[in-house]
Amino acid sequence: MNGSEDQSEFDSAPGDAQAAGVEDIDGIGIYLAGLGLATLLTIVSFFISSTTLVWGPSIPVALAVLAIAQMGVHLVFFLHITAGPDNVNNVMALAFGLLIVFLVIAGSLWIMSHMNHNMMPMDQIMQMQR
């Protein structure tokens, strides 16, 4: 492959199949494993959302856990993000991105739920406007 020897020595680009030590058609195995795992997690997600076998309030938590697991599967098997030393830059960027995502979503939900909680009921506001 063109210049692959100096790629494997240093960093690897995210999504580069060569990073996982495969250069040819053999790399399809990784994608097949990812497809299998992702399909399994998707089926479990759809099954849990419509079943009565599970305690109701636990369903959203289970769905969130399954979704995070599936995103992990996609990152490892499709985007080839690994824990190897050639992937440190990619993982650090991902960690920072996830921090911001967590702050935006959790912060918004936290603040807005408090504001909803402290807001006067709508009928009382209507009465004051009269």
């Binding site: 999504g15 959203p60 911001i100």
Partner: protein, 222 residues
């Protein structure tokens, strides 16, 4: 400088990065690494862009999560969502992510049949996904549950529509990549673009995972 330290015939006696790759890498290790190859830099830069795109989506997700109960007396997700439709969409996008992986392997290995076949499959699957999503949107608008009906529906159309817009752009990019490989061959710069495209497409699938979990499945289970 003795002859033992600089053997005769060596092009790089001080190991500063000249000569054969083996010696160069040795020098790089001790110097803390040199400049990475263009492919790595391009991929890393595109990875940063994708993360910023995901952060933008997190804003839409936060908006949706805050507004999901504000239906203004209109229909909630439970009445609107058809999980069978969503399951087909999910299967299409997951399969297309897989075929996109095959296409990038085919491009790396310079195998035309793999590349064009897998890219065509990816395109068809993406088109089916987009068609199903537009069909769902049209049905909702026809029922009077358009984006103007409630804050919940505004957030829903913004979030899901933004993902659909990304898929549309991805499909255009896919056609462009096929045309570029056809016209210019497997040149290193074309392969770098192909790397970016496959990253983009896989990232779209990751966003869809959180979308179908948070919006559709939790919306129906709610």
């Amino acid at each position: 400088m003795s002859a033992a330290q600089a053997p005769a015939g060596s092009v790089d006696p001080y190991k500063i990065g000249l000569g054969r790759p083996r010696e160069r890498s040795h020098a790089m290790e001790h110097a803390g690494g040199g400049l990475a190859s263009k492919r790595i830099i391009t991929g890393y830069g595109f990875w940063i862009f994708l993360l910023s795109d995901i952060i933008m989506f997190s804003g839409f997700f936060a908006t949706y999560a805050v507004l999901v109960d504000n239906t203004a007396g209109g229909p909630a997700g439970r009445q609107l969502f058809d999980l069978r439709n969503v399951a087909i969409e999910t299967a299409c996008l997951l399969m297309s992510s897989f075929t996109c992986g095959i296409a990038s392997i085919g491009a790396q290995a310079h195998r035309g049949s793999w590349f064009y076949g897998a890219m065509s499959a990816t395109f068809v699957l993406g088109l089916i996904f987009l068609g199903l999503e537009l069909h769902e949107f049209a049905g909702m608008v026809a029922e009077g549950a358009g984006p103007g009906r409630s804050a919940f529906l505004s957030a829903f159309f913004t979030l899901v529509g933004c993902h659909g817009l990304h898929v549309s752009v991805g499909l255009l990019w896919l056609l462009t990549m096929m045309a570029q490989v056809f016209a210019k061959g497997y040149r290193p710069d074309i392969l770098r673009r192909m790397l970016c495209f496959s990253l983009f497409w896989h990232a779209l699938d990751i966003i869809w995972v959180s979308l179908f979990s948070v919006v559709y499945l939790m919306g129906v289970a709610r």
